[in-house]
């Protein structure tokens, strides 16, 4: 795939290495912000056309996110509900940050990891296995083992795609999509009625509940409350930045992402980088699954495998432009959208929740479109710069 025909358009526009464009700092946070505002405006338009009031709908969604907890004038019962909502929003933010990191990390090496879904579920299941099969361990050790198992599971699943990319050049977009479905159907098989890992209740397609010693600590609110996963996610943001910017490995990965041929020429093992990039990316998604199972799910039902949390993670990475701060806020936004539109938090009298959840999907799609289309803005900007650079060159011979 790397043998491009010589007369091709700029290589960064091609499928295997579209990296360069995404890391231009043009516009900084402005483009994502504009994309978000635009998406919400169009979403509001859809709400308006279908005969609802967009302002009250958005306000109801906002109040469902629990972000109003931050306002000092919200008091009493309202504040208690807001706290509970905010806990839920932050609980959803956690896996979104981590699955977004799974995309972003591979992105920096020029790979598009769509496999967060599969890596998340494999990490979820390995952590679940540790959580249910190692009774009697002291709590911190059991939790750590569970998290480590999640990372390991995700790394294996991501590593398969990385290995295939490194050895046979199989495109990671295809392999990770396929691995997603293998993980989803495989997971349903493991816990279905009569499945090999089905829990002790033979009439339910469910796993057992993990031991109390494997559960993450809850630090805010009562059941279900907010577990410590959000701190792990924030730590992962730091780790992500450190690996990429402060280690030889990260330097190599970024070099491969910018230009694999040049990286290979300067002695960076490109194949090894592909493998490591996808394996580590898988680790991020894997720990997301581990945190979800150890933090509040505690078990899995075959019907859970439909959840598309990691797909939202891709949108988060795109909107956050692979920057730690961007990913954090994008994850908050999408988590807020998800929680604010859930049937529990949205008053059906104001706006039907089943519409609202689809509305949030639509808004996510629009955000991705607009962020992707900003490539156009950057491209024009770059063309202009190229032209500017060229002009003095042409004039040069005329000088004395």
């Amino acid at each position: 795939m790397s043998e491009a025909t010589p007369s091709e358009p700029p290589p960064e526009a091609g499928l295997p290495r579209f990296t360069g464009i995404f890391y231009e700092r043009v516009g900084g946070a402005l483009v994502p912000l504009a994309a978000t505002v635009l998406a919400f405006l169009i979403g509001g338009l859809v709400v308006l056309i279908t005969g609802h009031n967009p302002v009250t709908a958005y306000r109801a969604i906002f109040n469902g996110t629990g972000f109003n907890w931050l306002f000092p004038w919200v008091t009493g019962d309202e504040r208690r509900i807001a706290a509970k909502d905010l806990q839920e929003t932050l609980r959803v933010t956690t896996p979104l940050i981590l699955t977004a990191l799974a995309v972003a990390f591979a992105f920096r090496a020029g790979l598009f990891n769509i496999g967060g879904q599969g890596q998340y579920w494999v990490g979820f299941m390995t952590a679940l296995f540790v959580g249910t099969h190692l009774a009697g361990l002291p709590r911190p050790l059991h939790v750590l083992l569970g998290l480590a198992a999640g990372i390991f599971g995700g790394m294996v699943w991501g590593g398969i795609a990385g290995f295939l990319r490194a050895t046979s050049g199989a495109h990671e977009v295809i392999t990770t999509i396929m691995l997603n479905w293998v993980a989803i159907f495989g997971g349903q098989y493991l816990y279905e009625l009569g499945g090999p890992l089905q829990g002790s209740n033979a009439s339910l397609p469910r796993s057992d509940v993990i031991d109390a010693s494997a559960k993450l600590w809850v630090w805010w609110g009562t059941f279900p409350g907010l577990h410590v996963g959000i701190f792990i996610a924030i730590a992962a943001l730091v780790v992500y930045t450190l690996i990429l910017n402060r280690t030889t490995l990260g330097f190599g990965l970024r070099a491969v992402g910018f230009n694999p041929d040049a990286a290979a020429y300067s002695g960076i093992p490109v194949r090894r980088s592909y493998f490591l990039a996808l394996a580590i990316a898988g680790g991020f998604a894997g720990i997301a699954g581990a945190i979800d199972v150890l933090g509040f799910k505690y078990a899995v039902d075959t019907s859970d495998f439909g959840s598309g949390i990691a797909f939202t993670g891709i949108a988060v990475a795109l909107l956050g432009r692979n920057k730690p701060v961007g990913i954090f806020f994008a994850a908050l936004l999408f988590a807020g959208l998800q929680v604010g539109t859930s049937s529990r938090n949205l008053d059906p009298a104001i706006f039907p929740p089943e519409l609202a959840s689809d509305l949030s999907t639509m808004i996510q799609a629009l955000v991705i479109f607009f962020v992707a289309a900003d490539v156009l803005i950057i491209y024009i900007w770059r063309l202009r710069r190229h032209l500017k650079l060229r002009q003095p060159l042409k004039e040069e011979p005329a000088r004395p």
């Binding site: 025909t5 007369s7 091709e8 358009p9 700029p10 526009a13 091609g14 499928l15 295997p16 579209f18 859809v46 279908t50 598009f112 769509i114 295939l164 050895t167 046979s168 050049g169 199989a170 495109h171 977009v173 295809i174 392999t175 999509i177 396929m178 691995l179 479905w181 293998v182 159907f185 495989g186 349903q188 098989y189 279905e192 009569g194 499945g195 075959t302 797909f311 891709i314 949108a315 795109l318 039907p352 089943e354 519409l355 959840s357 689809d358 509305l359 949030s360 999907t361 639509m362 808004i363 996510q364 799609a365 629009l366 991705i368 479109f369 992707a372 289309a373 490539v375 156009l376 491209y379």
Partner: protein
């Protein structure tokens, strides 16, 4: 030299044949029940495969080894199963249901081939199918006619494809990101409209469904008539349209000037541009066609099969179609065979679960594992069109 190559090839092919035989003898009509038979025959196959490998025939030799190994396993497994169970699983109805499972996949796969042959990666097939599924129901309820339903499906599938085309051709957005957003958009829009318009659910009696063609004359053919009737006698019109679509896709792509243009734009857009082919025009056309075909596949799911719509009803079929495109090496015929293979897998999963207790979920993973094996190059390399996924910049 040539003789030697031929002889090693035939050794490999014989190995494959023995592998198949090891499994087949355990099935009806033979239904041999002795563990030694598949093992012995399979071992012969393994030996032949190894011999072929040793003589440098890597591909066929590997095939023979795999087939022989699977033949032994399959043969032993089949022997462990009751004779009557096997007869219940392997029926003519299984083939008919294979075709039904393959139809939406084949439509979408043909769409994918059009798009990717022109150089635009289309992972938005899933969303285009979903759009087709919804608007087919909508048009069919609104007008009372399935014809309008199909037309609406194609219209809105084409519109969604146009969005993808505009972003990936004119705006040069990353095609995977754009296709990804297309899927999200379709999920949101169809879900929103579905909840808004049909909040009380859809009455299947309100939906005008695509008719089924009863080919009773097949029954009168002597000998295999009854079998043919069971397979082809009661298929939806859309299944036959799917056959037509596959044939047309092949014909257009490989037997017409337009097809040559589509392929040249996908292989080397600069060269195509130089000889005066409109790269953008051809790509828009191909992507739009792809949306229409994928939408027809979705329409089969809704008004061709179940007669209603439910949120996210395509549930990943667009991705399987994409897998079929790759598995079929971007060729209509091979991709169609791949959809048949996947369809057979799904059709087989149900009776296997019912009769033999083999997990439907487990069988469902096979298409994806097969595709992984295919892209990993174990069954010959799967090489995409050279300019697939590369935006073209006019000069």
């Amino acid at each position: 030299m040539i003789d030697r190559v031929r002889s090693t090839r035939s050794v490999g092919i014989a190995g494959i044949a023995f592998g198949v035989l090891a499994f087949w003898l355990a099935l009806p009509p033979f239904t041999i029940r002795a563990a030694a038979v598949p093992i012995l025959i399979g071992l012969v196959g393994l030996g032949l495969g190894a011999a072929a490998l040793a003589q440098g025939e890597k591909k066929l030799g590997g095939f023979a080894l795999a087939f022989a190994f699977l033949g032994i396993l399959g043969g032993l497994w089949a022997q462990g199963v009751e004779k009557s169970t096997l007869q219940d699983v392997l029926t003519a109805g299984l083939l008919a249901s294979t075709l039904r499972f393959a139809t939406p996949l084949a439509f979408a796969a043909m769409g994918g081939i059009f798009s990717e042959r022109s150089g635009v990666v289309n992972i938005g097939l899933e969303g285009m199918m979903l759009t087709g599924a919804f608007f087919a129901v909508w048009g069919s309820i609104w007008s009372g006619s399935w014809v309008v339903g199909l037309l609406m499906a194609m219209l809105f599938g084409a519109l969604l494809a146009l969005i993808h085309a505009f972003f990936s051709i004119h705006l040069r957005a990353d095609q995977i990101v754009s296709g990804f957003a297309v899927n999200f958009l379709a999920l949101g829009v169809t879900g929103y409209l579905f909840s808004d318009l049909y909040s009380s659910g859809i009455q299947t009696s309100d939906v005008s469904r695509v008719p089924t063609l009863s080919l009773n004359f097949l029954d009168r053919i002597p000998g295999i008539g009854a079998f043919l009737h069971d397979v082809f006698g009661g298929l939806s019109l859309l299944v036959w349209l799917m056959f037509l679509a596959v044939g047309l896709t092949y014909f257009v792509l490989f037997r017409t000037p337009l097809g040559l243009r589509i392929r040249s734009v996908g292989e080397h857009p600069r060269a195509a541009d130089t000889v005066g082919i409109s790269v953008y025009g051809i790509r828009y056309l191909a992507v739009t066609t792809s949306g229409m075909l994928a939408a027809l596949g979705g329409a089969f799911l809704s008004i061709g099969f179940v007669g209603t719509f439910s949120e996210n009803m395509t549930s990943g079929r667009g991705f399987i179609a994409l897998a079929a495109v790759i598995f079929g090496k971007w060729r209509p015929g091979l991709a169609f065979l791949a959809t048949l293979l996947f369809g057979f897998g799904f059709a087989l999963a149900i009776p296997l679960q019912r009769e033999a207790g083999i997990s439907e979920n487990l069988v469902s993973t096979f298409p994806y594992i097969l595709t992984l094996v295919a892209v990993a190059g174990l069954i010959g390399r799967s090489i995409p069109p050279a300019a697939d996924g590369r935006p073209y910049v006019k000069q």
